[in-house]
């Protein structure tokens, strides 16, 4: 009799009637073969595996995280709301201790969605993990959260949202940005002045195999988690590192994913990318589910798996060791780096250009954060998109100090009087307030 060692919750929402467009990788068929494999294996019959129905998240859930321009309805579809709702449903069940851990198998993905959303980027509109984490912080006793993004693409959306938050440790392992979309995620990208070292980026060379991934997990990810001591570990479980993925150049396998999951022990896993829908997803998803449930996965092997072909070169191994050590050094210096980043009360500015490949939008951002030793610091974002609007958005963090709150409201009022901003947003997380002024 098959019994799960850990009570594991699953949300399975393949959105069989939703696609970006008919031949897009993010289309109806994407989880079809996964559904077939998981159903044929009788996974939902296993004692200890519970299937949950996703929530439909609300506008208020989105407003804890994003500034949607011009508004939430324009940049999301029902499938986004249900996908993120899959994550919140699992998270709630974990917090209520109905389950030990859970996996939301939903689509479309979300980890490229940043704090300001003018449209779709990398098939993402709403950041599911961030919506889930902020939902948890408002409804349960959760403070420190670690998000480990194992998708092959840099999780630049999640990285952006938590750039200034020292209570959220974001770790992304991905194919080197010089060789893959979105082109970011280098070890030096460690977070804003108030949160240096709570953003960890580990670029891996093309051709990294299971051996390389697991090396980084053991040598860097686990020790950092150990030190950070999160209340919750979340895995953005993208599956496009697989050796058959059409969009990437890595050599990861179903066995590798299962072992990674066993090592990482995530409380919640959320499916991100992965476009080898026949050759990888059915086996990888099955492996992750079994690993989370604590069930033997040793026979979950792709039919065409050939370990000889999937060996990584010595050159790749060397590169991985180097980057892993470098990241460890940065993490060890994080307090120093925060001290050096600037003085209390100073404003620090960064300029960025963001391209929305899915919706063909170009955005220019000027972001200012108040360096603060008492809170995570208020962030003011001046954003103009073409096509799109020129807006100003103010984010006041959950733990905001009196000064940061005051500065935030001032910035909001001042901008509201300026002709050039078509919309001005205020997201006051310390009081749970969201305001929009339009002209």
């Amino acid at each position: 009799m098959l019994k799960a060692k850990n009570r594991t919750g699953l949300v399975f929402f393949p959105a069989f009637d939703w696609a970006i467009d008919p031949t897009h990788p993010e289309r109806e068929e994407r989880l079809l073969y996964t559904q077939d494999q998981v159903t044929e294996e009788g996974v939902f019959d296993i004692d200890g595996i519970e299937e949950y129905k996703p929530d439909l998240i609300t506008i208020d859930d989105i407003r804890r995280v994003h500034f949607c321009v011009p508004d939430e309805e324009s940049v999301t579809t029902q499938s986004h709301l249900i996908g993120a709702g899959g994550a919140t449903a699992i998270a709630r069940a974990v917090m209520k201790k109905e389950i030990k851990n859970g996996f939301a198998l939903v689509r479309p993905p979300g980890h490229h969605a940043m704090r300001v959303v003018h449209g779709g980027r990398g098939f993402c509109h709403i950041n599911m993990e961030a919506v889930m984490v902020e939902y948890l912080r408002d409804n349960f006793d959760v403070k420190k959260v670690a998000i480990v993004d194992t998708d092959c693409h840099h999780g630049d959306g999640t990285n952006d949202i938590y750039w200034h938050d020292p209570d959220t440790l974001f770790i992304s392992m991905h194919q080197d940005g010089r060789t893959l979309y979105p082109g970011s995620g280098f070890p030096e990208e460690l977070g804003g002045p108030n949160a240096k070292g709570s953003n960890i980026n580990i670029p891996l060379p093309p051709g990294t195999s299971t051996e390389g991934y697991l090396y980084v997990v053991r040598n860097t990810v686990l020790p950092i988690l150990e030190e950070f001591k999160p209340d919750l570990i979340i895995n953005s479980a993208g599956q496009d590192n697989h050796y058959t993925d059409p969009l990437t150049n890595m050599k990861f396998s179903a066995q590798g994913y299962s072992e990674l999951t066993t090592l990482l022990k995530p409380d919640i896993a959320v499916l991100e990318g992965g476009y080898s829908i026949e050759g990888a997803l059915p086996y990888v998803n099955l492996g992750i589910i079994l690993a989370m449930a604590g069930i033997d996965y040793s026979r979950v092997v792709e039919p065409d798996y050939d370990p000889e072909k999937l060996k990584q070169s010595d050159f790749v191994t060397e590169k991985i060791k180097k980057v892993s050590d470098l990241v460890n050094r940065y993490f060890a210096q994080r307090q120093e780096l925060r001290e050096k980043a600037g003085k209390h009360g100073q404003l620090q500015e960064r300029h960025r250009e963001i391209f929305y490949d899915t919706d063909n939008i170009f955005e220019r951002q000027k972001e200012r954060v108040r360096i603060c030793r008492e809170c995570s610091g208020t962030v003011v974002i001046d954003s103009s998109a073409s096509p799109g609007l020129h807006v100003l958005a103010v984010h006041i963090p959950r733990n905001a100090c009196k000064d940061c709150i005051e500065i935030g409201y001032q910035a909001f009022e001042t901008a509201a009087g300026k002709e050039k901003f078509k919309k001005v947003f205020l997201q006051d997380r310390s009081k749970g307030i969201y305001k929009v002024k339009s002209r």
Partner: protein, 570 residues
């Protein structure tokens, strides 16, 4: 006229129905050790003074399979599984006679690894040496491509009396359940065969030549011939018989909850617009999970004879039954005793009932009448709670499309139907507690036999079309055809319908009375490297469970005299 016979745990009911209603009914005690004579004496009683030529249909619902499984009186079965990658097939081991072999078919029905003949011969030899006569061959994804199961059967066909193949039990995906279901079929086959052949022979001797129909767990029937390939489908047909017998009283276009209140348990089921709800995958009872189509029934360990006791100052009712109620010679107090004390039920030994409830009253520190009231009230609200939890559970079943998620049909019961011995006494209380119109099914005591007699022949067909690989396949129907690239949605529906009609008629359906319903229809574009390569269609259609046309309202007509509405009492 038609005959329905339902073998129950203690009694066997048989009815003779004409288009006017119940012509005759017979009740005989069930002899669990001799079901053959039980069935025969029921039929003999019914057929007295009736000309065999007037009988057009006979449907039997028996506990043969259920009993055999419970008493473990089944044949040893050998199982050979070929699983390919995934969960280790060792987890699904049935017993020592279980052999995983190589061979792999993937989710799209493509062979990824062939079977190994030597390995199969060697497993077959070990099974034959162990004295096994019946074996099952089950492959993962055999419903997509049964070739490995067929090869195993070919290789071993001379070594065993009969070989059952997994792909024939259902079009549904679920490898562990396919193993369990195939095992069950093989285990009860010889007993099923000899039993029904004997029944058929005795009926022929009585001049009855109509083909026997057998009731299945899904509330439909199949003929004897079809049952030989899949005898497991007869398991748990008893609850289905009662449910079918109450259909006539379920309102149209509304949801109805049916309670079959027995001595030990109460079975709960649901109608949506007069159609009973089915299990999505197959029967489950505790840890046993199968691919056998079945009505969705939930069994709660609470009935008229459930034991009542006091634990930490609280009333506990059920789940165990220690014998009959004290009013009928039992040793422990029961809800039936409470009803006798309250005067709701005017039967049995009231003194004994009083004595039982008294003991409970003393422990609770209340009057005897108060204790009886509490027991009665609590028993009725417990089964209602159970029913609403079941409805809630069904309403929260996950769905896989945005459309279904947003449109999600929610069951909202607007009528309650009651069956079984204690039913008539509980109707008022249940109506008061639930605020839902409650009715006791007329002829409630033989509703099961009526349900069996008038149940339609049902079946289900799954069809998978893959235009990239150029095939349409329904392995359970032995169907595989090549299709062109432009095979349309309409072609898929037509093919599925013709397969279903053929199957229904072969199983004994009246060709003019096949009500078809599409359970599932999905269409996917196959795209590789941004280029459309074809389409996948998945469909599942069924003949819905229901009553045969001429007998749609049969029960309604015979209902005039004892139609008991829930009576309000304060």
């Amino acid at each position: 006229m038609i005959i329905g016979l339902d073998v129950g745990g203690t009694h066997t009911d048989a009815v003779l129905l004409s288009s006017k209603g119940v012509e005759k009914q017979v009740k005989v005690p069930t002899d669990v050790s001799d079901l053959f004579n039980t069935v025969l004496s029921g039929l003999t009683g019914l057929l007295k003074d009736i000309s065999p030529h007037e009988i057009k249909r006979i449907v039997l619902s028996t506990t043969l399979t259920t009993n055999a499984v419970v008493q473990k009186k089944v044949d040893p079965v050998g199982i050979i599984v070929s699983s390919g990658p995934g969960i280790d097939p060792e987890f699904f081991r049935t017993d020592d006679n279980y052999y995983p072999v190589s061979g792999s078919i993937d989710h799209r029905g493509r062979e990824r690894e062939p079977v190994n003949e030597m390995e199969i011969i060697s497993a077959g030899k070990k099974l034959a040496d162990a004295g096994v006569d019946y074996i099952g061959a089950i492959g993962k994804f055999s419903t997509r491509n049964p070739s490995h199961e067929i090869q195993i059967k070919e290789i071993l066909k001379d070594k065993f009396k009969k070989i059952f193949m997994g792909h024939q039990v259902s079009g549904n995906l679920n490898f562990p359940r396919r193993i369990a279901t195939t095992h069950l079929n093989a285990a009860v086959y010889s007993m099923h065969k000899s039993f029904f052949n004997a029944v058929e022979k005795s009926l022929k001797e009585k001049g009855l030549n109509v083909p026997i129909q057998i009731l299945k767990a899904d509330g439909g029937t199949m003929n004897l011939e079809s049952s030989m390939e899949f005898p497991g489908q007869t398991i748990l047909s008893g609850p289905a018989a009662s449910v079918m017998g109450s259909i006539a009283y379920a309102p149209e276009k509304k949801d109805t909850v049916v309670f079959d209140i027995g001595g030990t348990t109460t079975d709960i089921s649901i109608f949506i617009n007069k159609v009973p709800l089915l299990e999505p995958v197959g029967i489950q009872r505790g840890k046993y999970k199968s691919l056998i189509r079945s009505l969705k029934t939930y069994s709660k360990g609470l009935g008229g004879d459930s034991r009542v006791k006091v634990v930490d100052d609280n009333l506990m009712i059920g789940p165990e039954r220690m014998g009959p109620a004290m009013a009928f010679g039992g040793k422990v107090p029961t809800p039936t005793d409470a009803m006798v004390v309250l005067g709701i039920m005017d039967q049995g030994d009231k003194k004994m009932a009083m004595q039982g409830i008294d003991a409970i009253a003393e422990e609770l520190g209340v009057s005897t009448m108060k204790a009886a009231k509490n027991i009665f009230h609590q028993a009725c609200s417990m089964i209602l709670t159970e029913a609403f939890e079941m409805v809630d559970h069904i309403n929260h079943k996950p769905v896989y499309t945005v459309h279904e998620f947003l449109q999600g049909y929610k069951i909202k019961p607007e009528k309650i139907l009651l069956l079984g011995g204690p039913a008539r006494y509980c109707a008022g209380e249940i109506e008061d507690l639930s605020g839902i119109e409650t009715q006791v099914v007329p002829c409630s005591s033989v509703a099961n036999a009526i349900g069996a007699a008038a149940a339609r022949t049902t079946c289900e067909v799954s069809l998978l079309v893959d235009t990239e690989q150029g095939f349409a396949v329904s392995p359970e129907e032995n169907f595989k055809a090549s299709v062109p690239k432009d095979y349309s949605e309409e072609d898929v529906r037509k093919t599925a319908l013709s397969l279903l009609k053929t199957k229904a008629i072969e199983s004994g359906s009246d060709p003019d009375n096949i009500e078809v319903e599409t359970i599932e229809f999905q269409k996917f574009n196959i795209v590789r490297n941004f280029v459309p390569k074809g389409k996948i269609f998945k469909t599942k259609i069924q003949v819905m469970p229901g009553l045969i046309r001429r007998f749609h309202n049969i029960c309604g007509q015979s209902s005039g005299k004892d139609n008991i509405k829930g009576e309000k009492k304060k």
